[in-house]
């Protein structure tokens, strides 16, 4: 075991503890960057929603609430499977680790499938700005801002999901090869941090985009 641990230690570090702390801190700082990245969008959203509350509520009504709700449940469940994967990695249960990672990937794919279905129906209803956008005349202009924000925010989130799925696939490969041990599981832990972050972004996106009509009308 110790010889394997030695193999996982990169040359610039003194020991595995230092390496793990470095990996973890690096991901936290990266997530701080991500918060500011999405933060710009949340700011733009907040400004326009406070300027055009009626148009935003009317446009929000056109989204498919049940699909958003389903996706919220799917993503929260995937956060659970990621936590279980990290736990399995810590306690050296390789089979459970691989199963939990695969479950995470399946849930992520379900999320993206539902999202694609939503995009398709929004396209069919002419709710994509710049592509023959149609909406009730009162809110025709400002609803375009809502849908522009809807597509860029959920689209950027989906891009992060796709990156997350790629990372999780690498983790499955590493885990099944036996690279992950109770001494060296930073890749799983750090990937898990990223996955949770992408989930949390959705936890904010869902009420902001789907549920605002619920209390305005």
């Amino acid at each position: 075991m110790s010889s394997h641990a030695h193999g996982a230690l990169a040359h610039q570090f003194d020991d595995l503890d230092q390496q793990r702390e470095v990996a973890s801190l690096g991901m936290w700082i990266f997530l701080a960057t991500e918060v500011l990245f999405f933060g710009g969008l949340f700011l733009v959203y907040s400004v326009y929603r406070s300027w055009y509350p009626q148009a935003f509520a009317a446009a929000s009504h056109e989204l498919i609430v049940w699909a958003g709700t389903l996706n919220t449940v799917v993503l929260i469940t995937s956060s659970l499977t990621v936590v279980l994967a990290v736990h399995a990695a810590q306690s050296g249960r390789r089979r459970t680790l691989v199963v939990m990672l695969l479950a995470t990937i399946v849930l992520g794919c379900v999320f993206l499938g539902v999202k694609a279905f939503e995009y398709r129906s929004e396209y069919l209803e002419h709710h994509v700005p710049g592509m023959g956008f149609q909406f009730e005349p009162d809110y025709f202009l400002h609803a375009q801002i809502f849908f522009s924000l809807y597509f860029i925010m959920t689209g950027l989130h989906a891009v992060h999901m796709i990156i997350g799925l790629a990372i999780m696939s690498v983790m499955v490969w590493m885990s099944s090869r036996g690279d992950i041990t109770p001494e060296y599981y930073n890749p799983i832990e750090v990937s898990g941090l990223y996955w949770h972050f992408v989930d949390i972004v959705w936890i904010f996106l869902f009420p902001l985009l789907y549920l605002i009509g619920r209390h305005v009308h």
């Binding site: 990169a10 040359h11 610039q12 003194d14 230092q18 702390e21 470095v22 801190l25 690096g26 700082i29 990266f30 701080a32 960057t33 991500e34 500011l36 990245f37 999405f38 933060g39 710009g40 969008l41 700011l43 733009v44 400004v47 326009y48 300027w51 055009y52 700005p129 710049g130 592509m131 202009l141 400002h142 375009q144 801002i145 522009s148 924000l149 597509f151 860029i152």
Partner: protein, 544 residues
């Protein structure tokens, strides 16, 4: 600084001869080699950006718009700004000197993430290629600020490739900043406490914070501009109720702190130069260290002073004005502390110190004119005039480039293991100082008299000052070319520098020049305080 007494032979094994051929460079994970890759990159973009400056100054030598058309002129100043800001000034000191020095100064073998460090360089180069593509494909004319709705609706030039280039390069800054922060937190050698770190590292740390927290905001903003252009979405489009001023808020939320990304590392360099050049501990070490953090934090709160005339409420303009004045305090703390360090110091006049003096003087002028601009009434008078152009060139060229060149000369013996020609170096430092002031001081006057920026023609009354400025630019250009020549020359013909040609303190001077790939023969243990100059005589024998 003594006249370079500690020279010796080149070490047998060092990072430069640890592997030969192009592959050993393009696939290296050694932070020192990556620093040199960046040196090649930023030097290239510096001269590309400089070529545009030459054309701008040539056009402005005569009042009539006779050399280039107005549309070409728009592209010239845009490409000059984009190349210089995003591909030279922002990466220059952190990615070249920072990459080389951060691990060595804390006694580490490498940065925390060596592969990510190499990836950052490739990201920088890919971003640069997109921007170069925009250039050869006809250029872009929005100004480096990409103001909407011109950039999203009206401009017919290469906005998207340029925006993509800046977006991509931004991730290089973010990842380099992340790497530095983690390295400084987790990789310090035994005994290297936070308050034993050289001040260059404090300012690099502050810079990295801005990189990590500010750059993502410009990334998303520039992405929104590209998406609005490609898909005709409406984020900032007034025709659907969008607000162009919102774009300006987002843009300056990054781009004002970006000024501190450019100048903070230069301040860090100057702290090192002044200590070594005066053989004294930096006066008020903790004040200088915390001033860096204060500048980084306050720098995030002043962006609104770019929009005093763009439709901002009186109250927010007032608050942004006050906050902008506050940034002057930590900046002045640094200038006063450097001056106090020199007081009764053994003041040297070797090349690095000449650049440090240049920095302190020019940064002071740039900073004080910044206070004019923070005053709303004066700002309204000089907004979009050459006064602004002169002000930010005093900070960016007089500050950042002076600091960069001073640092490059100070650490060149460490980087290359060779000494350069001191006479030529002093001469070019003098030429740069004269050329710089002749170029940009007349622009303060021009702006105050009312000459607007970004026009290729101007009334004949302004010609004398413009000719002075263009003449200065040609002197400045010569001043920048000379170091290229003697530094390259020194690589082959320079005398071996030895470990510590300046007799300076700091871990980087305890290891051979050039350092071995792992930086130190064995991990050092630090038992002394920073800038411990009075008892430096035996600095080389201190390693435990």
């Amino acid at each position: 600084m003594p006249s370079m007494p500690h020279t010796g032979a080149m070490p047998a094994h060092h990072y430069l001869n640890d592997g030969y051929g192009i592959r050993s460079w393009l696939f290296t994970r050694d932070h020192k080699r990556i620093a040199l890759l960046y040196l090649a990159g930023v030097t290239f973009f510096f001269f590309v950006g400089g070529a545009f400056a030459v054309l701008i100054r040539l056009e402005l030598a005569t009042p009539a718009g006779d050399l280039v058309s107005d549309e070409t002129y728009n592209k010239l100043f845009t490409m000059h700004g984009v190349m210089m800001v995003f591909f030279f000034l922002i990466p220059a000191i952190p990615a070249v000197l920072g990459n080389f020095l951060v691990p060595i100064m804390i006694g580490a073998k490498d940065l925390a993430f060596p592969k990510l460090n190499l990836a950052s360089w490739y990201i920088y180069i890919i971003g640069g290629l997109f921007t170069l593509y925009a250039l050869v494909n006809g250029g872009v004319d929005t100004g480096w600020t990409f103001y909407t709705p011109f950039s999203t609706v009206s401009s017919t030039t290469n906005v998207i490739p340029t925006a993509l280039g800046i977006f991509i390069t931004g991730f290089s800054s973010i990842l380099t900043g992340l790497n530095f922060i983690v390295t400084m937190h987790k990789m310090r050698a035994p005994g290297m406490t936070w308050f034993r770190m050289p001040l260059f590292l404090w300012s690099t740390y502050a810079t990295s914070l801005i990189n990590v927290l500010g750059t993502p905001v410009i990334a998303i903003t520039i992405a929104l501009v590209a998406v609005e252009r490609i898909f005709h979405f409406g984020f900032f489009d007034p025709r659907v109720g969008g607000d162009p001023v919102l774009f300006q808020h987002l843009f300056w939320f990054y781009s004002h702190p970006a000024v501190y990304i450019m100048v903070l590392p230069a301040m860090g360099v100057v702290s090192e130069l002044v200590a070594a050049g005066c053989r004294k501990e930096v006066f008020g070490y903790k004040f200088v260290a915390f001033a860096s953090l204060a500048i980084a934090i306050l720098g995030f709160l002043v962006w609104g002073h770019h929009m005093f005339v763009a439709g901002e409420s009186v109250y927010s303009a007032l608050i942004f004005s006050i906050l902008s004045f506050l940034v002057a305090i930590p900046s002045a703390v640094k200038v006063f502390n450097w001056t106090a360090t020199m007081y009764k110091g053994s003041v040297s006049f070797q090349t690095p110190m000449l650049y440090a003096y240049g920095f302190i003087g020019l940064f002071t002028i740039g900073g004080l004119t910044g206070l004019f601009l923070a005053s709303i009434a004066v700002d309204v008078h000089v907004t979009d005039t050459y006064f602004i152009v002169a002000h930010f060139h005093y900070i960016m060229v007089g500050g950042t480039i002076m600091g960069y060149l001073g640092g490059l000369h100070f650490w060149w013996p460490k980087i290359s293991g060779r000494l350069y020609n001191e006479t030529l170096a002093k001469l070019s430092a003098g030429i740069i100082f004269i050329g710089f002031n002749l170029t940009f001081f007349p622009q303060f006057v021009l702006g105050y008299l009312g000459m607007p920026r970004r026009y290729h023609a101007y009334p004949p009354d302004f010609q004398v000052l413009n000719v002075l400025s263009s003449a200065g630019a040609s002197i400045l250009g010569v001043g920048y070319l000379i170091p290229m020549i003697y530094l390259m020359w020194s690589l082959r013909y320079g005398r071996a520098a030895g470990r510590n040609p300046w007799g300076a303190v700091g871990l980087e001077w305890t290891t051979p020049s050039p350092p071995p790939t792992e930086n130190f023969e064995q991990t050092p243990t630090v038992t002394w305080e920073p800038y411990d100059y009075p008892s430096i005589a035996d600095a080389e024998h201190r390693l435990v």
